[in-house]
């Protein structure tokens, strides 16, 4: 269980209990019914969201839960793009997220290597300091960071978000990287060093390709958390031009607040990228979350 991130141990897809019975019993039907019921509870709000994003705002007050949109009100999505400033905010989010993900992947690879392979006295102390970051509530840093950025005149910049975003994902990313690096045999590195490779050559030419699965996990987890982050963006940004995608929905607070259809369309647009990323990288995410939890 402790090395669930090791390359040799594929996660949960092997099912030890599966081969036991083959006959379809009443219990099995009941069990499936229960699973479907809970699955519906998990999904229904989202189905409702997509359905209503295609209705006219006036139709929201009808008595039905779901209503077949005939014809679908695509105008909601057009309004979402214009009132919600979706293209601009989407681009901002993409830039901030991609830079954060790449920066934190690089930093966690470097730190992970230094923590697992290099010999230095403070290694243990520094690692525990970083791991404390998983316990500390990030909300407690909002206030002092706001004061700090304000004093340094750094509010309203993209890097005002990129820096704290990269910092808060370091503990988890380093945890995943060190867990993975522990499982890699050192023989390859040793022969590379004997052949005259420098430490940087070893890290970027040998370790980097081997750790790609763990780096993918780190990147997917960090993409989702950064894309979804809201409270820091709400605190450190005031300029309309820099805001990130979650703020598209906030644009509907005032003058467009009764345009329900467009609001539902905006919410759908915000949710789609992370759902897609999750569906594409389900296994990487699953690995990262379980590995992080068990070790943390």
């Amino acid at each position: 269980m402790t090395n669930s991130l090791s390359p040799a141990a594929p996660l949960p897809s092997t099912k030890p209990h599966k081969e036991e019975r083959r006959k379809v019993s009443g219990g099995k039907i009941l069990m499936m019914a229960f699973l479907i019921l809970i699955a519906l509870f998990q999904l229904f709000p989202l189905i409702w969201l997509v359905d209503y994003s295609l209705l006219k705002s006036g139709e929201f007050f009808g008595s039905s839960f779901l209503k077949w949109p005939s014809p679908p009100e695509w105008q909601n999505y057009v309004n979402a793009f214009t009132y919600g400033r979706v293209p601009r905010y989407f681009a901002n989010s993409l830039i901030i997220t991609v830079i954060t993900v790449m920066l934190s992947a690089l930093v966690s690879l470097m730190m992970g290597y230094a923590f697992t392979r290099m010999k230095w006295k403070l290694s243990g102390v520094v690692l525990s300091l970083i791991m404390m970051g998983m316990i500390i509530p990030i909300h407690a840093t909002l206030l002092p960071n706001f004061i700090l950025f304000n004093k340094l005149g750094m509010l309203n910049n993209m890097y005002t978000l990129i820096l704290p975003y990269s910092a808060i994902v370091i503990p988890m990313s380093v945890l995943i990287m060190t867990g993975f690096l522990e499982t890699i045999p050192r023989a390859i590195e040793e022969s590379a060093v004997i052949d005259g490779a420098s430490i940087y050559g070893v890290i970027f030419k040998i370790i980097f390709p081997i750790t790609k699965p763990a780096l993918a996990t780190v990147c997917v987890l960090n993409f989702i958390s950064t894309w979804n982050e809201f409270i820091m963006a709400n605190t450190f940004l005031t300029s309309e031009d820099l805001k990130t995608i979650p703020f598209s929905i906030m644009k509907f607070a005032g003058e467009y607040s009764s345009n329900y259809g467009a609001q539902f369309a905006v919410m759908t647009i915000i949710a789609i990228p992370t759902i897609l990323i999750y569906l594409l990288f389900t296994e990487q995410m699953t690995k990262g979350i379980t590995a992080g939890a068990v070790k943390g």
Partner: protein, 294 residues
């Protein structure tokens, strides 16, 4: 090899970027909080040092602070006693669901990857007094009398928040227990079957006790995430009505940015961090039970 691996310059270069980032964004702010927490700073202008007055005020006179902690406790209790048993049950069902197992697992987790801004607004609409899904449902089954402004009533608002948080976090809890089940060797259940155990005794006597290390992990995670709960509350009720749904993160935010009590807000931040650290350490100690190897 050893010489290369103890190259001080290389170590410094590898560690420095991450450590600086971490120190500047997380460690230094905490020290700043400790500094401002002992002042009566109002956001602009001069301020005085007032020692531990803020902390004394918070701990002994601030009802909202304790309400916030109480709400975190309620949320934790709901998570551990309602969400987790469901998660364990479904995780067990999942291992028996054959080829659909992956589909279900994926569906259950989807709410967890969606932005809280979306889920909070979505559920606010579900609880909306006019077009909300919940009131429509009550209409549909003839319970008009129960129709309600769910988020506007201090008695129901906190339960709305709890439902949303449990809904969104369900996939996460399920995933933890599911991977815990995968870690239990299958020969144990086979041996129990040979000894004549039926499914019920197999699970209650063997599998669930063996799941306890994962329960410990899941409970610690639940406690800390419930204590840290902020965004859902911020977006759905902002702690209202009348602070009935207040949580620490939201409370310190409101104190600083709406009431301009920066010194006081920073003192709440520090207490918040201390609570999280102490609770995590204590829970780790208390829940550490040696269950033996398998």
């Amino acid at each position: 090899m050893h010489r290369v691996l103890s190259d001080k310059k290389a170590i410094a270069l590898l560690i420095a970027p991450g450590l600086f980032l971490f120190a500047f964004m997380i460690c230094i702010p905490i020290f700043m909080s400790a500094y401002y927490g002992s002042t009566d700073w109002g956001g602009i202008g001069k301020y005085n040092f007032i020692g531990l007055d803020n902390y004394r005020e918070i701990l002994f006179h601030d009802k909202v602070f304790w309400t916030s902690l109480g709400n975190a406790l309620l949320l934790t209790a709901a998570t551990v006693f309602l969400q987790h048993p469901f998660a364990i049950l479904l995780a067990i069902f999942l291992t028996h669901s054959g080829k659909y197992e992956k589909v279900f697992r994926t569906i259950f987790f989807i709410p967890a990857v969606i932005s809280i801004v979306v889920t909070a607004k979505l559920w606010s609409s579900i609880f909306h007094p006019n077009y909300g899904l919940l009131n429509k449902l009550l209409d549909g089954i003839g319970l008009e009398a129960l129709k309600h402004d769910w988020l506007g009533d201090p008695n129901t608002a906190i339960w709305c928040i709890i439902i949303v948080v449990m809904w969104q976090g369900f996939g996460y809890a399920l995933l933890l227990y599911y991977s815990g089940l995968q870690g239990i060797p299958s020969d144990l259940s086979e041996a129990a079957k040979i000894d004549g155990a039926n499914n019920f005794t197999l699970y209650t006597r063997i599998i669930i006790p063996l799941l306890s290390p994962m329960m410990r992990v899941a409970i610690i995670i639940a406690v800390t995430t419930c204590l840290k709960q902020m965004e859902t509350v911020f977006l759905m009720t902002n702690g209202g009505p009348a602070n009935s749904t207040q949580f620490l993160g939201n409370y310190l935010y409101k104190t600083a940015f709406s009431s301009s009590l920066y010194g006081y807000g920073n003192a709440i931040s520090i207490l918040f961090i201390i609570f999280c650290l102490v609770l995590t350490v204590v829970l780790n100690k208390v829940l550490k039970k040696d269950i033996g190897e398998f």
